[in-house]
């Protein structure tokens, strides 16, 4: 059996997906990044190898997410793509004809507008994290709830309370005030979901034309309260696809299939999971920018560098490679 691997290294979660040649998902893995992208990717590869039938061959690898370059050099990816494009590709394959993608992850939220199957517009949150998964996480733990309980509880609400949604700081203090006045938890949670949706619509969704079918994906889509709040605000059905939390990885796998068409994969094999990768950094002293250069080493050999503005270090490596 041949599979295509997609790896999405996000700020909060790292996901791996293996798809068959027909694009169906054979196995998916969702893990917390916990600030250690290298270890998590290695662990994910090990888990993936175990769960795939023996003799499975990897025909292509794609990486995405904010750690895509790191995962790319580690695995020898065939394609390294930004998360906006991969999410759009996955959604338009899973829900054909999708016109709007609402995506909320741990650290960022984005909206992607598609027309005729092609991305026509997108926006990402810039200066505000109020509408993201991390904020929900934090509020849930403040109320002593696990994030899994959040959604079902919010759905029990009869009268959602009004909560300020412009800024996470206002939202939090508003929530505390409402809670101390004696409103019950489900109503507060439902109010919080509605406030976050308002914040999302004003920050990310502003001046975008939201047409159905609307797909809601990313880790926060697990929260039924958020789905309810989006449906109420948009007055259309909001679809949460079955693999909503690994859509980026799925898109990367699909792109890997496309890019290895009539070409051999650059995948370095599952054994990279046992390689000794280490990342280090140093401050370049070439100019007053003092760039923090990141260096990825495998078994003592430098395999990648980035972080320098002028290309002094990253280009130096590229040249060395060309000669050898």
């Amino acid at each position: 059996m041949y599979v295509y691997l997609g790896i999405d290294v996000g700020s909060v979660s790292t996901n791996l997906v293996a798809t068959g040649e027909d694009g169906t998902i054979k196995h998916s893995i969702y893990m917390r990044t916990s600030g250690k992208p290298i270890e998590v990717v290695q662990k994910g590869l090990k888990l993936m190898q175990k769960s795939l039938p023996i003799g499975t061959k990897v025909a292509g690898v794609g990486t995405t997410g904010s750690g895509r370059h790191l995962a790319g050099v580690m695995t020898g990816a065939d394609v390294i793509k930004n998360e906006i494009t991969t999410h759009a590709i996955a959604a338009s394959n899973v829900v054909p004809g999708v016109q709007t993608i609402l995506e909320i992850g741990g650290q960022d939220s984005k909206i992607i507008i598609l027309r005729n199957g092609v991305v026509s517009d997108f926006a990402m949150n810039t200066v505000c994290a109020a509408g993201t998964g991390s904020f929900l996480d934090q509020q849930a733990s403040r109320l002593n709830l696990s994030i899994e309980e959040f959604g079902p509880l919010a759905l029990q609400s009869n009268v959602p309370v009004q909560i300020a949604g412009r800024c996470a700081v206002f939202a939090e203090s508003d929530m505390i005030h409402k809670q101390q006045m004696g409103y019950n938890i489900p109503d507060i949670l439902a109010g919080l979901c509605a406030a976050l949706v308002r914040n999302y619509m004003n920050n990310v969704g502003k001046s975008k034309e939201i047409l159905p079918p609307v797909v809601f994906q990313g880790g926060v889509a697990a929260n039924a309260g958020m789905k309810w709040a989006f449906e109420k605000a948009l007055e259309v059905e909001v679809i949460v696809p079955p693999y909503f939390n690994v859509m980026g990885a799925l898109g990367a796998a699909m792109l890997a299939r496309e890019s290895t068409n009539r070409r051999k994969t650059g995948f370095r094999g599952f054994q990279v999971a046992d390689s000794d990768f280490c990342s280090g950094g140093f401050a370049c002293d070439g100019c007053p920018n003092i760039c923090e250069v990141v260096e990825i080493q495998e078994g003592g050999r430098v395999i990648a560098r980035w972080g320098d503005r002028c290309g002094r270090w990253s280009n130096a490596l590229a040249k060395e490679e060309k000669i050898s």
Binding site: S66, I84, N116, N202, I210, K232, C287, R309
Partner: protein, 383 residues
């Protein structure tokens, strides 16, 4: 008297040429860097925009190199930048820097006001010499712009990665080396010859993006995280809506030099959406977006420093222009941040969007507009 001035892209070449021709001792601050930013941020009002912070950092670094006089643009009209020279001077005074301040303002009535100021800096050289010096400065600005425009073309098409960057460095050195207006034509020829020497693949398909927005963030590569180079390396041919020589001609010479690129057409186009100048380059941003759409560019990116009022006005108008003319527009706001991963992600996604649109011809000619969308909803629906 040792004169310094703030950085804005390659502007230093033009002013250095002019002042040195007039016998002024010039101190060029080191190129804007993280250190410049740190110095500026530490001593500036928090709500000021990034240009003020970088200017201030430039002056503080130049002072360590022995500068004692600041020459700064200013005046009524642009935006709050018009007052930055005075604010920066006051901050420098409070910090104990002994700086003289000369503000070069767009003349209210006649170009002689400007020449008078320059004569003061140059300690009363003859009018003739001063005018020749200004001409040298203008010629240099214009030559630098020509080199940059060649680089826009060759960067996405270069056969050897990095060839354009090296050529730009060499070409600019030729322009810097010219000392008199008489040497300029030869220097320009030499510079352009170097630029033409970059081997390119003329048939490579490229995406074309117009850059619009606030002048400082457009011109200063440190401020815009080298967006031109980043896009160029992604296979994008860029064009910048504002060039230094054009700004000098429009604002300082009041359009004295004819048949040169000017911001007039952009201003006139912009009037269709914004009946008024709103300070800074707000009107030009709207107008240039329309011009780029008409010239068949694939997309437009608007750049502005955080809290820039004129550009915020323009930003709120651009979605309408975008949907009327069917040209995708993305806005990037820059501030102190130095991590560029977020910017690269956005640029890549935008380029992907434009490439995919370009591959789908029926989409390219289409205004993704109102008629076909009965259930149209605006983003401001609330729960």
């Amino acid at each position: 008297m040792r004169v310094t001035y703030p950085h804005m892209g390659h502007m230093w070449i033009c002013i250095k040429g002019m002042l040195e021709y007039l016998g002024v001792d010039v101190v060029i601050p080191p190129p804007s860097s993280k250190k410049t930013m740190q110095l500026g941020v530490k001593h500036s009002p928090e709500f000021a925009c990034m240009p003020l912070k970088l200017n201030l950092g430039n002056f503080m670094e130049a002072s360590q190199m022995g500068a004692d006089t600041v020459v700064m643009a200013g005046g009524c009209g642009p935006c709050r930048f018009g007052y930055y020279a005075q604010v920066e001077h006051a901050i420098l005074n409070d910090l104990g820097y002994q700086y003289q301040l000369v503000v070069l303002e767009p003349p209210q009535k006649h170009i002689t006001e400007l020449i008078g100021k320059i004569r003061y800096i140059t300690q009363n050289r003859s009018w003739f010499k001063v005018i020749k010096g200004i001409r040298l400065g203008y010629l240099k600005a214009s030559a630098v712009d020509k080199v940059e425009q060649r680089a826009y073309y060759s960067r996405p098409r270069e056969l050897r990665p990095g060839a354009t960057e090296q050529a730009v460095k060499k070409a600019l050195a030729k322009i810097v080396a010219a000392r008199t207006p008489e040497e300029m034509p030869a220097a320009l020829d030499a510079a352009l010859e170097i630029m033409n020497g970059v081997a390119v693949d003329q048939h490579r398909p490229v995406v074309r993006i117009g850059l619009v927005g606030e002048i400082f963030t457009l011109l200063e590569p440190f401020a815009n995280m080298e967006i031109e180079r980043k896009l160029g390396n992604m296979g994008v041919e860029v064009d910048r809506s504002i060039h230094l020589s054009e700004w000098i001609n429009d604002h300082l010479f009041m359009g004295l030099i004819k048949n040169e690129r000017s911001s007039k057409p952009a201003q006139e186009k912009g009037l269709a959406y914004l009946g008024h100048t709103v300070g800074g380059h707000g009107l030009e941003t709207v107008g240039s977006t329309i011009l780029y759409a008409e010239q068949g560019f694939d997309g437009v990116i608007q750049l502005l420093p955080f809290t820039c009022m004129p550009e915020i006005v323009a930003q709120s108008i651009l979605p309408q222009v975008s949907s009327d003319l069917g040209i995708p527009v993305m806005t990037l706001i820059v501030d102190e941040q130095s991590g560029d991963a977020g910017m690269i992600t956005r640029l890549e996604a935008f380029v992907d969007l434009l490439t995919m649109r370009g591959d789908t011809p029926q989409l390219k000619d289409r205004n993704f507009g109102v008629e076909e969308c009965p259930q149209r909803m605006r983003g401001h629906t609330s729960a």
